[in-house]
């Protein structure tokens, strides 16, 4: 109970400071929009082609924009040595991690929910044909991105080349989840259901979430205590 309260306190704290400054949220959303616009110049967006690559395009946008949010996650604690103050407090590392991860999760979902309609308008795409399944895939895959991103944000927070190291480390690590998300999102935006063959991707996503969340929760204390 105390654990959950502490987790929520951390999450709310992060969300409050983010909404107050909107530093990373603004950056991430504008970045997402810019990529979406730029991409329309890269290909001639006929409906069929876009439908084919919609999942890939969207998840690249989410992953790139997400890195901006994840980068700030632990970096915002550096300013006045706040990270030390948090680690020295009786909050367990796992609660600190889950709190920060939940805040990032909310922020990433906001970016995604803003990007999706823009994608729909810019590319003339109806993306709501399988709303429930799409929401489920978004929820699972975004959590995967969040977990990896938050843990590696903690891992790289004190590095000289933090902004560079984080993306180089997280993208390869996220690929299984991104691949699954891209494949499933493409199917769902095209309005198809998930065929028997493609359930492996859902299982992969769930497995990824479970395995990496447990790993992260176990290891984060070691990462934070020097």
């Amino acid at each position: 109970m105390l654990f959950l309260r502490q987790t929520a306190t951390i999450a709310l704290k992060d969300l409050r400071s983010e909404f107050r400054t909107k530093e990373s949220l603004n950056a991430a959303i504008s970045f997402a929009v810019v990529i979406l616009v730029l991409f329309s110049f890269a290909v001639d967006p006929t409906a069929d082609q876009i439908r084919e690559i919609s999942g890939g395009l969207l998840w690249l946008v989410f992953a790139f924009a997400g890195a901006l949010i994840l980068n700030r996650s632990f970096a915002r604690e550096l300013g006045n040595d706040c990270l030390d103050a948090l680690v020295a407090s009786p909050v367990p590392g796992a609660a600190l991690f889950l709190g920060k991860a939940s805040a990032n999760y909310v922020l990433l979902l906001i970016v995604e929910l803003v990007s999706l309609p823009i994608f729909g308008v810019l590319y003339n795409m109806r993306w709501t044909r399988q709303p429930l399944m799409l929401a489920a895939v978004l929820a699972l895959a975004t959590w995967a991105v969040t977990v990896i991103g938050t843990v590696f944000s903690a891992l790289t927070v004190n590095l000289r080349l933090r902004e560079l190291m984080l993306p180089t480390l997280i993208y390869p690590m996220m690929i299984p989840a991104l691949m699954a998300a891209m494949r499933l999102t493409t199917l769902l935006i095209a309005g198809e259901g998930i065929a028997a063959d493609d359930w492996i991707w859902v299982r992969l996503l769930i497995g990824f979430d479970v395995i990496f969340t447990s790993l992260a929760v176990t290891l984060v204390e070691v990462v934070l205590v020097g």
């Binding site: 843990v151 480390l169 390869p172 690590m173 690929i175 395995i211 990462v223």
Partner: protein, 228 residues
């Protein structure tokens, strides 16, 4: 003394590999469907066996480091990862050359191939992370955490041929198929070459570990000089 033993073991591994090469090239018949090119597999499969073994040991060693915080485990982990990457590259390149003949293309985005490549990139990230951290204890600790995460990609690579219908051939070794898909003579040759490569890898790991120890000594002397 330690060096002499290492060099001797290295020489034995080299000679063993040369002898295996001789048998593979001249002692074994061509394969019915693939012709001569199938002989690459005697390097390709043992190469991957070596690299999976290396990454597995690196993962175990990383866990032990986090538990005991003894720098020797970190030394072992970095040495095995680096040698593992060398063998991953061998696996990728030999596989690619084989694919050029059998499939007519160098590369395809088949799940097995894709994940093998991702594994390689992830472990290169491990080496990059190490370079970015100056303080040895933090470096060891953060690298150990990354190494444990990275092992997931090795597992996915290993299981990819079971989970997806891949263009990459399925399992051939009898401990995965229950036997029957490979000639016992060829399989025994494959394992012999794997043993020779593992021995070679062990020698390389030992050499690399000694270098890491020298590196630590240099770092600690620098700190010492700084403290004066």
């Amino acid at each position: 003394m330690r060096e002499r033993i290492l060099y001797a073991l290295g020489a034995i591994a080299g000679l063993w590999l040369a002898r295996n090469l001789y048998v593979i090239l001249l002692g074994l018949p061509d394969e019915a469907a693939q012709g001569a090119i199938y002989r690459i597999l005697f390097f390709h499969v043992p190469g991957w066996i070596t690299c999976f073994t290396a990454f597995l040991l690196a993962g175990i060693s990383s866990i032990l480091y986090l538990i005991k915080s003894d720098p020797r485990y970190d030394t072992f982990a970095v040495a095995t990862v680096e040698v593992g990457i060398a063998f991953t590259v061998i696996g990728l390149v030999t596989g690619s050359i084989w694919a050029r003949i059998i499939w007519g293309i160098w590369w395809t985005w088949d799940p097995r191939l894709t994940w093998a490549l991702i594994t390689c990139i992830i472990y290169m990230g491990y080496l990059m992370l190490r370079r970015a951290i100056d303080e040895p204890t933090t470096r060891a600790k953060n690298a150990a955490v990354l190494c444990i995460f990275s092992f997931a990609s090795v597992v996915i690579t290993y299981k990819a041929i079971d989970w997806w219908r891949t263009q990459h051939p399925g399992a051939v070794l009898s401990f995965r198929t229950g036997g029957g898909s490979i000639d016992p003579l060829m399989e025994s040759m494959l394992f012999q070459n794997a043993a020779a490569l593992l021995l070679l890898a062990a020698v390389l790991v030992a050499v690399r570990m000694r270098q890491e120890e020298i590196g630590r000594e240099v770092e600690s002397l620098r700190r010492h000089a700084h403290a004066i």
